[in-house]
Amino acid sequence: MPSSRAEILVVDDSPVNRLLLRRALEAQDYAVTMAQHGREALELLLAHGAAFDIVLLDLLMPEMDGYEALAQIKDNPALRHIPVVMISAVEELESVVRCLELGATDYLLKPFNAAILRARISGSLASKRLRDLELEYLQQVGRLTEAAAAVEAGGFEPDALDGVVARTDALGQLARVFQQMAREVRAREERLQRQVRELRIEVDEAKRAREVAEITGTEYFRNLQERARQLRSKR
């Protein structure tokens, strides 16, 4: 689903309301998915929760009503950030209060007015986008601090920061400087390790030459050489 087109989950048992809402929302260029009751909505949300930007939820429905569906959405850490706008013909004040207390973003009465529906949805979407951006920022700060811990532990991979360095803000700048410095430190370490390896090889060769010289310098070895020479000359 393209990120520019908001995806709305409409939950309503009335075919007339589903038709009306689909029509009104698609006219606003929203992508619309339908569920006929709370249980179907929860199944869709658990399977594709991240795909939905907002839920429009009716109250009185078979299988699972809107109160229960709302409570389950707001109880689930993976779903609770999705704004839920109640849209119902239940007019009692206590119903409005109960839904808002359960975490609903808004409460619209049916029959809905298209202009009000549009305004409430765009308001909810704007706050969700702001929240999504804050969440992403915090996650990226987390990646930067993890990277710092990895540098200390000696296991840092500079590519781990690719998503953060692409940011155009101060956090992105910090990540770029950090990544650059970590790369330089890593290159220096690799250079040093190479030099150590080369030195070790030189040391090994010198040691071998010394051992050969020690063996060939002994009287026993010289006697062996003399006997070998005599044997060759007798042939």
Partner: protein
Amino acid sequence: MRRQSWTEELRVSEQEPINRTALDDLLATTGGDPAFLAELIDTYFEDSETLLPTMRNAVVAGSAEQLRRAAHSLKSNSASFGAQELTVLCRELEEQGRTGTLGGAAERLAQVEAEYDRVRRALEAARPAG
């Protein structure tokens, strides 16, 4: 003055089963597409023909919750078409279901059925052909 009051009274008691302004608003809201309005009206008829027997069964069986749900759905659907009187009657039945006081519900249901007939005829007349 007296005569004017009498005609006003007559107009209220014999008001149109559907409010044309509400229907025009509905059409405008949904992009002014007559084919869509026809589909919506057909869907309303189909749904009502399930909801009314459900309400009848609920009243006979004394099932308040079933009555509440079905009356609520018919109320909500009817309100979208500006069927004001039917909406009011369904709201009263819904309230009876909600509070579990079903006294007089059969009579009120008969009123709902009669009013639905008027609404259906009005919507059939207003339904775009095709």
